[in-house]
Symmetry: C2
Subunit: 281 residues, 2 copies
C-alpha cells in the first residue's frame, strides 16, 4: 500500500448535511479514514452566490489539504454544482462532487425519460443536474424544483410532522404532475426527509440518494487509482467545524446516524487567511 493510499479521504460541506455522505462512505468503505470539515460558521451555502460559494469551497479544500487527504469529496450539492470544476483545475488530487454520481444514477433508473431534481436555490439555479443529466442522455427531460424550507425542516428534526408533508406537497406537486419516475434528492439534508418525500410521490417513483451514489463513486475511484486503504486497525476519523452552533451535537448525530466523536473548531479567520491564494477569482 502506498503512503498515499493510507491517507484519509477529505470531505467537506457547508455544515452537517455532508455527514449523510460520511455515513455512507463509512458503511461502504469501513477501512477508510475520513477528515471532515463542516463550515458551520458560514452555512448555509444554498442561497449564496456562485462567487462566494466557490471562494468558500477553495478555503475548505485548503483546510483538508493541510490534513494530508488523498481525495476531496465535496459533500454539498451547492458547492458541487458551482465549484468542482474549479477545484479539479486547481488541485492535483481527485475531487468528487455529489452531482455527477446522482445524475448517473438518475439516467440509469428512469424508464419514462422524465427526471425530477430537488435542491436548494443555489443548486437549482445552477442547473448543474440538468447539465450533467443532459450530457449523459440528451433525450431526458429534467424538471427542477427548489425547496428552501426542506433544510430548516430537516435541521428542526420535523421529519414526521403533518406540516412537513403539507410543505412537501406544495413543493413537489409540479414534479408529480410532470410525470417524473425518478427524483434526485439533490441536497445532503434531504435523505432525512426521504420518508415524507416518498409519501408525496408514492412507490412508483424512485428516489435517488446522492449520498449513496457518491460513496459508490468514491469506492470506484479509489480502487481504480490504487488508492484504497488496506484493512488493519480501526480507522481514525477527524471532524472539524468552523462553529459549534446551538443543538449541534443533536443535529449532527441525526445526520451521521451515529454518535459523533470529538470535534475540533477551526476559526473562520484561519479559513479566510487562505484567501491570498484565491485572488484570481
Amino acid at each position: 500500500m502506498s503512503d498515499t493510499a493510507s491517507s484519509p479521504i477529505g470531505v467537506f460541506d457547508s455544515g452537517i448535511g455532508g455527514l449523510t455522505v460520511v455515513a455512507e462512505i463509512m458503511r461502504q468503505l469501513p477501512d477508510e479514514e475520513i477528515v471532515y470539515f463542516g463550515d458551520t460558521a458560514r452555512l448555509p451555502y444554498g442561497p449564496k452566490s456562485e462567487e462566494t460559494v466557490t471562494q468558500f469551497a477553495i478555503q475548505d479544500t485548503e483546510l483538508l489539504l493541510r490534513h494530508g487527504v488523498k481525495m476531496v469529496v465535496v459533500a454539498c450539492n451547492t458547492a458541487s454544482s458551482v465549484a468542482v470544476a474549479e477545484l479539479t483545475r486547481r488541485y492535483d488530487l481527485p475531487v468528487i462532487g455529489v452531482i455527477a454520481p446522482g445524475a448517473l444514477a438518475a439516467v440509469s433508473s428512469t424508464l419514462t425519460g422524465k427526471v425530477g431534481v430537488i435542491g436548494t436555490e443555489g443548486t437549482i439555479a445552477s442547473h448543474a443536474y440538468r447539465r450533467e443529466i443532459t450530457n449523459l442522455d440528451r433525450e431526458i427531460e429534467v424538471v427542477e424544483v427548489s425547496c428552501p424550507l426542506f433544510v430548516p425542516l430537516a435541521e428542526e428534526g420535523w421529519t414526521d410532522r403533518e406540516v412537513t408533508l403539507v410543505i412537501a406537497h406544495e413543493y413537489l406537486t409540479p414534479l408529480r404532475d410532470a410525470g417524473v419516475d425518478v427524483v434526485v434528492l439533490g441536497c445532503t439534508h434531504y435523505p432525512i426527509l426521504k420518508g415524507t418525500v416518498g409519501k408525496v410521490f408514492g412507490p412508483t417513483v424512485k428516489l435517488i440518494d446522492s449520498a449513496e451514489e457518491t460513496a459508490r463513486e468514491v469506492a470506484e475511484r479509489l480502487s481504480s487509482l490504487g488508492l484504497a486503504r488496506e484493512a488493519g486497525g480501526a480507522p481514525e476519523h477527524r471532524f472539524f467545524v468552523s462553529d459549534v452552533p446551538h443543538r449541534f451535537k443533536e443535529q449532527a448525530e441525526r445526520f451521521l446516524g451515529a454518535p459523533l466523536p470529538n470535534v475540533s473548531v477551526v476559526s473562520v479567520d484561519e479559513l479566510a487567511a487562505e484567501s491570498g491564494r484565491v485572488e484570481s477569482l
Copy 2:
C-alpha cells in the same frame, strides 16, 4: 450642527432582516442618512455560537466605522443579545441594540405581568430579553420560545399560507397557554409574520415590534446627544452586503417595504481582514 451630527447612522444585521429597522428609522427620522451592512455571506447568525457572532459583530462594526458613522445600530437580535456590551466597551460611539428597546416596551405594556418572547435559537438561548426585562421589573414572568422556521418562512415569502399558521400554532401554543398578554417579536424577520402571529394570539395580546421601538430609541439618543441631523436636502443612504444571494432584491424589498437603491458588495475576506484586532476574544 456639528460635523458628527451630519454623519450617517450605521446599521448592521446578519442579512436583510435589519432592513425592517432601517424602514422604521427612515419613517421616524426622515432627515437621517443611513449606512447599512448586511452580512449575507455568513447569515444567519441565529443558530451560531456566541463567540462566532461576537467576532462577526466586531468585523461588521469596523466596516461601518470606515464609513464614518456617528452611531451603530445592531439591527439583529442575535448579535444584540450577545455582542452589544462588547461593542460598547470597544468603541467610543453610541451602540444601540434591539433588545433593550423591545424589553422596555414589553414592561410598559404588560398588565398581567406575563411577557412572551419569540426569537431565533441564539437569541432565546442567550436569555437576553429575560435578563433585560427582569432588570427593569423583577416581578415579571418571561416565557421564551425559539421559532427556527420563522426566518426561512419569512424569506420564502410564505406570509399568508395556511402552513405558516399551522407552524405558528405549533410554536406559540405554549405562550398562549401561559397567559402572556404581551409578546416581543424578538427577531427582525418576524414583523413580516406579524399577521400570522396575531391570528394565533388574537387581539387581546399586544405584539411588540422591536424595529419600531429601536427606531424610537435611536431618535431619543440622537436628540439627547445633540447628534440629530438637520433637515436640508434628501438624505443619501448607502447599502453594503457581503454576498448577493439568490432572490436578494425581491426579499430585501419585502423587508424594506420600498424599492432598494444600489447595493455594494464587500468581500468576506475584507471583513475577516479586520480580525487581527479581535485576538482578545
